[in-house]
Structure formats: C-alpha cells, structure tokens
Subunit: 582 residues, 2 copies
C-alpha cells in the first residue's frame, strides 16, 4: 500500500505506519479501521484529564485546542515520566514508529496507568503524495485520522500564512524604498506551501515591471520546513514565541549585516497569526487514550519533534508521556535529546528504539521483494544498525528498550535471534503486536518501561556543550552519533562558521540536516557504516528557532510528487466521509 | 483610520466600514468595541435557531460550523424574505455597506423579527494591507471580529490548499510524461495565497533542471480570486461541489482542447479538501443576532457574494435574511441578481442601496479633504450616481430602499436635499445611524422593508437571457447596468468568444470584471458618466463556477501592500488578545 517515489529521501518524511502488515491476511485499511471505530466525544476525553471548562476549545466533536493557562494552573505539579520513541534508520520495509508510539500509550492505558501520547501533526504534502496519512496504523491509531491528516485544526495553515506574510512584507519593504538596505540577492527567507510541489523549488519572482516587485531568485519550501514551524515547536509561551519570531534572520544587508523580523517590525503581526496555532490539540487513540498532537517540523532540515508546549502540557496532565521524534535515533532522536530537551528543560526517563525484523534484514543487504523469506544471516548482518543506535542512546545516560514491531512474516528463528542478541548484551527487548492488537499488543513493553523508569536515574548527559565551537559540536555529533571517522567542511561552510561567530551565534545547538536512510550522509550506506567522512556543505542560521542547521549532501526542503500520487485515489462521499486515505 | 494605497483599485476589495465616523467624536476603534462586547456562547445562538445537536460543530466558544443536513431537514419549510444590501459606486469617503447590513439585521431583531445576516468571509490580504478588517463597524459588527478577520474557521486556507494542490498535480502531470499533452504555455490555472503579495504576480517556475519541473511562466492570485472560491460559493451540495470542481478548465492541450480537473482525475481529492469549508459558519452580531458568514469571492474577477448554501440555509432558519454583495450595484449587485439568483434558485424580496452624503459629494466632484463642509451643490451634482443604481434595480422588478448611512458631518440641509430628491421620484429613503447606535439606529429601515416585502411582488426579471450570445449578454449589462453607449471587443476577446462557443460554453452567465469606482471601466469617471464605451480586453472561462468572466481595463487579481501596511500595527498581548485590527 505504501509507495516509494523516486525521490524517496524526501517523500518518506514522516515515519512509516507498519501497514505492510496488510500484505498478508488483514484486509482492512487504516482508514477503514479508523472510520469504524467509535470515538468518544472529545469533552469526555477532556474530563478524564480533569480539564476545566475554560481550558478547552472544541473544534468539532472530536478535536479540541488546549489553553496555555493549563501550564500555569499545574505549575507546581510534578511532571509525568517522559518516554521517547525513536527507531533504527528507516527503510522501505517500514518500522512503524508512530504505530508503536500510539500502541504503547494504549498499553499503558490498558494496565491502568494515566498515559498521554504526544505526536507531531502530519504534513499534507506527503499525505497527498506517497503516504496517505501519518497517524499510526492498524489498531494503534489516533483519530479522527482523516481530519488529522487533512486540515486538522489549521495550525499548519496558520504557519504557512505567517511564513508567507513575512515574505510579502519583506519584498514590500524592498519595493517601497528598501530603507534597511536589504540585498535582494541575500534573502534567506523562502515562501512555503504545505504541498509537494517541485516546480516551486527554484523560481524567479517580481517580474513584469516596476509595480510588480523587484525581480529576484526565490523558491518555496514545504511548510513543515519553515523556521516558523521550528519556532512554534520550541517556544514556551506566546511571549516567548514573539521573542523568537522577532529574532528570525530573513536576509542580509548590502553590508552583510543580518536583517531580522524585528528590523521589519512585524513580529506582532506574525504572533497574532499564530495565537491559536500555539495551543496544543487534543484528540484520542482508537482505545480512547488522550493524544496531544501539535507541531510537526521536518526531521531533516529542522529538529523533527512535536512542540515543547505540548510535551510539557502532557507531562502535567499525564503520569506517562509517550512521544516520538522524526526518523531514526541519529536524526530526530539526537535532536530531541540535544535541542528539544534544552529548550523544554526536560529529559526523557526512557527511550524506546523501534525496529522490525524486515527492516534489519534490509540493513543486512536483502532487497524489499525478498523480505518474506526467513533469513537469519541477513538479520545477523543488519543488526549492527540497531546496535549503533543503542550505543548512541547509552551515551545520553537514558535507559533503552528495543521494541520489535512484529510482522506476520517474522519467523520464530528470526525472533529468537534478536532476543538472544539483546540478552547477550544486557539490552532490554520486547516484541510488540500493537498494529494487530492495539494496546493489548504492547503490554509487556509498557510494563518493562514502568519498571525501568522507577529505577534510580543516572544524570542525563548531552553529546556536546553549547559552549563548544560550531565546528566541534558538528564533529561530536558526527563521531559520537553517526560513527563517522571525520568531518569535512566546504569552503562556504568554513566562511559561514566565521561569520556566524562574528554575529554572536556560536553558542546555539546544531540541527543536522542529513539523509535519514543511513548513519552516514550517503543514503545507500545501510547497516553500520564505518570510516566514512561527513561532508558539511553549508550552514543555515535558524536564529528564531535557536539552532544552526548544518546541511550534508542534498537535503530537499520541497518534496516532489510521484507519478501516481495518492491524491488520485482520494475522494469523499455525499455524506462527507473520506475515501482513499490510508 | 482607513488608508488608501496607490493601488486603490484592488486594496479596497471589500467594502468600507463606515469608520470615518471616528474622525469626529468617537474614539473607540471597532476592535475596542468588539472586544468590550459580551458575546453569547455560540450554542445559545444555535438554540435560538432551533438547531439540533448533530447539526452544529463548535470551533471554539464563539464560532460554529453548520451541517448541510439542515437543508434536508427544513426542505419543505418556506423561505424567509431575502433582502440584498448593495451600494453606490464606492469612494474613499466610505459608504459602510457591511455596517448597514449588520445594523439592519440587528434592527429587525430589535423589532422582534427573526432575522439572520449572511455575509462574506474577509480575506486576510487586505486585512493586513490597508483595511484592518471587514466585519462591519461601530455598534454594527459581527463578532468575534478578530477571529473572523484572521483565520476564522479555516475555509479560505482550505481553498488555498485545494487550489495549490491542483496546481502541483497539474505541473506533476507534465513532469511525469504529460499524457494529456498539456501545452505548458496555455495553462490558465494559477497558484494563490491569501495575502497581498505583488512580487508573485508574474513569476517563472520550474527552474533548476530536469528534476525540478518544467520551466514556464506563472503567477499567483489572491485566494479569493481563485475559481475554487467561486465554485464553493455557487455549489448547492457536496456532490454539486464535486461536479463543479470536475469541470474546471485548467489548461489547453497542444491541439487547443480544454483540459479539466476531471481529465486530471483529482476532483475527489479537491472535494475532500473542501468538505468542511463547504459548511456555513455561524457567529453573532454585537446584539446577538445570528450571523452566517461563508465564502468570499472577489467582487471584480468573480461574483462577490457569500455562498449559495449559506444564503439558502439562512432563508430556512430565519424569517428575514439580510445579505450583501461586493462593491456597488453595478458590480456585486448585478452579479448577485444575474448569477447567484440563477445558481440558488431564489431572488431578493427587496434591495437596499447604501449611500452616504460624503460619498455622493465625492461623486459630485469634491475631494476627500473637503467633505466635512456642507456642500449641497456637490450633492446635487453627485446624486446621479445613486439615481443610476436605483434605475438598475428597478429593471429587475425588485422593490428598492435607499439607506443613507448617517455621518456626524452631514448637515440638515444635505439630509433634506436627499430626502426631497427621493420623495419627488417616489423612491423610499431612510436615514440610518447603525454605526453609532447599533440596531436601534436602523429601526425605520427595518420597518420600511418589512412593509415593502409584504406588498404584492412583481415577477423578477433578469437583465439578459442565458441563451443570448456572449456578446449580447455583455452588451446588455454594459448598456442597461452601466449606462454605456457601446461595447468594444478586442481581437483576442472576439477570438475567445468564437472558441468558447465552439467549446459549448456560450449559455453561461457573464461575470464582469470592472473597476468598482466608476459605472464605466475608467476608475476616475465618477457620478453618472454617459456616452462611454466599455472595452472588453479578454475573457476567462470559469466553467466550474459556471460563468464567463469578461475583463475590462486592468483588473488586478493580486493586490499589493502599501508603504505602511496595517500589519506593522498588528500585535497580540500575552493573553492572546488582538491589537491593531480595526
């Protein structure tokens, strides 16, 4: 059911849903399962969280926005335990990280624990392109999945609007006399749409004469790659949002000085446009576990985690917060642990690494068509990918559990191999069947985590210090997280490191932009490559978000559509029921 | 408080709010008044309309979406009386048409009649540019005005998304082999943003090599100029929406055959993206009169009226429906009467023409700075503009009332002159003070209309027949509505009329695209120009909406921002309260 496009790097932006399970005996699509489920009215879910009337705003019957005042009311309440779900490097075989995240929250719920799942909002571009949805799968989904995958509560539209309003105001500043002396060749702020639209990657705007703007090169990113998305996800309050928006760098002057949103004087308007988008969204899982879905920055160009506000709120409202980060532990996971934890002033009590036997076999060199056959040798060859991610999380001093997301094609020998491999290394490992069985398929995982988080915690350790130079921070990530031998910086990147230091930006965390498919910067190097060099092509200053992006290889920030986009199958019946999302 | 930009033609897209009254003694802004008002929870408003639980979806506490099933439930209930509010040709002096529309609904409410006001949704571009809001003014506003003027319930964002998804799918079709043989030079579908962004008017996309699309000329319109907005506003059901979307013409092949959304196979996906946007939105006026705000097509390039579904639903739910059409009676008014009435199968029981003494003096040759002084001679010279619009409405056989929206600077002599002028011609005229007094300022107007709509109605007459040729339809509008001597068609327009006839499109109504400032196609010809020729530059086929657009002069479909956009004053406080909208 899942299609890979030629531009796989980008189209598989969110994580796979585990719907490859459908290959075998199950015939219902995720959408069928979701539409057949009986949702509770969202006010019933709110009641279980003991929310006050003024703290909730309904968006239809099954969605609501949560007021930021909840954080004030519960200020002194201790935080619930935070569990981060990440994965091995994703493969076309599918890992099902979101499915496990949702299923785990349902499992906690099943064993009587007050759990909340905190997820990212799906981007519409990939949904209409190759994915069809990003809300878990099977019997571990958040619902209403169709709404969540379409416009949801409008957060991403608000970000698109704020992003493009800023672009229009910037170009208008130049058109109306350019008092700030912005160099039109040095504008770094791009426009966005929340669609896969490759024809907008590189464009020329402002054509048609003096009343039509100033001609210049430009391009569109997908909305989830907008710095405003990252800013919204790292802000701790509406005031902090404004402060962050104000310091976003949008261009440089003819004297090479940074130009900020504050210089343009439009941080107020942008914050106003985002005043509802900053409020987390409450929905539910198929088993009525509360789900907070909020924010969804790209996991390559940005940090790939849901919002700080949502995570903090979930930690105040629940005893266990299950959240995920984009792509594998080397990308979203690392950024969660080095960037989001710093912005949110919280760290996870446990990390789950999701893997599938299928995917590990691909890391061991098997191609997708041959995954159904037992192949313990391939598993032996590919498990090094999992091994590296376990090593990485251990460096942060956080307890790790490996969750094997079971597929119907997995054989007993394969399962035993993994269990044995983990046992030998003292690694916790649990088999989960949450796609097929919902929360009941994840009870052992929930119980294992419950036990781990009660053990005495070691002090959380970062991979790098903020005071390290930009260069050192990048090298530490490359060596400690990717297992690289070395890092090579382009001439451009070296110049930028100097410039950024002069601008006073060197004490920010690093947001690596790298392919998700490999620990290296080369998508085809699966398993656990060694001796490789990471090439840093250029840097990007996300001063509003508060990080420096380091770009390796070709990281696309605007996906393309495949030959047969999912959109061709999407439809709606006379009563408004969605068709063709999966 | 209202600013006119250099591109006045386009920035005053929606109608003025009457806030020039603020010049004198009143110091509160519209936003202040709106924020100070005590709104009722929207479920209380829904209760007054006897809506059933399943028919309403809350969007926060003060906004709701109404289910289309209401139309089925009330299918056999007789329609309420429909009152169309239109105006003279707008001037920088301000007429306050939306203010009178809202005030009139409040006045009906005050005299115990069950009235509903049905308005268009404001576009964000002008709100951030020169307007600051489009929800009435003073004590005749719809609230929450800040929400309505910002993202509201996301309808316009859904239209932006559907419009741009179609563009992306179209360009992707070409990229992936161009099976339909689309000529990239003959693509008529443009992308949109709901912002004033002149730098996007004329662009080149698809640059950067073979993986980045096919290079071609393109451009962005403002969202409210999208044919999808017009389609949404003319559709009678979700199924009809899909039918209309399917027939939208987006391009022509290398053999000059039209290419439709249906040919691309994406009408299902587009309809799915619009399944919530098609539901009307319920809010309230400052006096708790129910207000249905839904759809907002451009009044020059499109037909400029709120949605057919909203108007029909209001007619089922209320005994009096007060609605408005964009710009003056020659533009939005004419299109309401020739286009919307046909699509909706309803016609108004009365038409209100709003005028101000200030505006009529401008039509008489006075410039804006001198409007405060009494000038009966200018009024005598300018009243011909009002006279023409009265004549026009009379041709449709609908009762007319002139509403003089009173300003503090109006003198007794000026008021008496107008009253006398109307009396001599047997024209109903009423002075309204709804900006300052709310519904109480419009009671005489409401009572006059109550009386008129009970009188025996003459049969409604269209200005042209659908079977007339495209040429004849345009000539009839120009002569009967504008008072033109003649119509001149460009060579391009003549060729298009032939082509369109060959494509089978000649029996559609005409949507004139003309400046709103003059009865002619020359913005500076105020008053009641005579002997002029209307020049038809080109035609545009809006086959989904179901009309042929005839473009006169330079009609911009993407506004620009002024030197000091309203956005510079927009802000939000720590608690989320809007600042700087007015």
């Amino acid at each position: 059911m899942k299609k890979m496009s030629k531009n796989g790097t980008i189209n598989n932006m969110y994580d796979s849903l585990g719907d490859e399970n459908m290959d075998s005996t199950v015939v219902k699509s995720d959408l069928d399962i979701a539409l057949e489920s009986e949702m509770k009215k969202i006010d019933e879910i709110a009641t279980t969280l003991q929310l006050e009337d003024d703290e909730i705003e309904y968006y239809g019957k099954y969605k609501a926005k949560l007021s930021l005042s909840i954080l004030d009311r519960l200020h002194t309440k201790p935080d619930g335990k935070l569990i981060l779900v990440t994965s091995i490097n994703p493969t076309p075989a599918g890992e099902g990280k979101s499915t496990v995240t949702v299923g785990l929250a349902q499992a906690f719920h099943q064993i009587g624990k007050k759990a909340i799942v905190a997820l990212r909002e799906p981007s519409l571009g990939p949904t209409m392109g190759v994915k069809g949805g990003a809300t878990g799968g099977g019997y571990s989904q958040v619902v209403p999945m169709d709404d969540i995958n379409l416009h949801f509560t409008g957060d991403i539209h608000a970000i698109t609007t704020a992003n493009n309003a800023l672009a229009a105001l910037l170009d208008n500043h130049i058109q109306q006399g350019n008092e700030l002396q912005i160099d039109p060749r040095k504008i770094t702020w791009k426009r966005v749409v929340d669609l896969n639209d490759r024809a907008l990657r590189k464009i020329v705007i402002g054509l048609g004469g003096p009343t039509q703007g100033v001609p210049r090169e430009d391009g569109f990113d997908i909305t989830v790659a907008s710095e405003i998305m990252a800013v919204l996800c790292l802000a701790s309050s509406l005031d902090d949002l404004k402060v962050r928006l104000k310091r976003i760098v949008v261009a440089y002057t003819i004297h090479n000085e940074p130009v900020t949103v504050g210089d343009l004087g439009v941080e107020g308007a942008l914050t106003l446009l985002l005043r509802d988008a900053i409020k987390p969204n409450l929905v539910q899982t198929l088993e009525h576990t509360p789900a907070i879905i909020h924010g969804g920055p790209f996991a390559n160009i940005a940090h790939g985690c849901n919002s700080v506000i949502a995570t903090k709120m979930a930690a105040k409202l629940g005893d266990y917060v299950i959240t995920e980060a984009g792509f594998g532990a080397d990308l979203g996971g690392e950024k969660f642990l080095n960037i989001k934890t710093r912005a949110a002033n919280l760290s996870p009590n446990a990390v789950v690494i999701v893997a599938t036997i299928r995917a590990l076999k691909m890391h061991g060199g098997v191609n997708k068509a041959e995954l159904k056959s037992e192949n313990v040798q391939a598993l032996t060859d590919g498990i090094c990918n999992l091994e590296k991610h376990i090593d990485t999380i251990n460096q942060f001093n956080v307890p790790v559990v490996v969750a094997i997301n079971k597929f119907l094609t997995d054989t007993e020998n394969e399962v035993n191999f993994i269990k044995e491999w983990c046992k030998e290394r003292g690694v916790e490992v649990v088999l989960t069947e949450v796609w097929e069985k919902g929360g009941l398929g994840g009870i052992e995982l929930a119980e294992t985590i419950s036990r781990l988080v009660e053990e005495p915690a070691k002090p959380f350790e970062y991979i790098y210090d903020l005071e390290d130079s930009i260069e050192d921070k990048i090298i530490k990530i490359a060596q400690k997280v990717y297992g690289a031998k070395d890092v090579q910086f382009s001439a451009k990147a070296i110049k930028q490191m100097n410039d950024f230091e002069n601008y006073g930006w060197s004490n920010l965390p690093i947001c690596m932009a790298k392919t998700q498919y490999s620990l290296s910067d080369q998508p085809k190097l699966l398993g656990r490559p060694e001796g490789f060099t990471i090439e840093i092509r250029e840097l990007k200053a996300s001063i509003g978000a508060g990080f420096i992006v380091a770009l390796t290889g070709n990281v696309l920030t605007m996906p393309g559509l495949p030959k047969e986009p999912v959109a061709l199958n999407m439809d709606v019946d006379s009563k408004g029921n969605a068709i063709g999302l999966f």
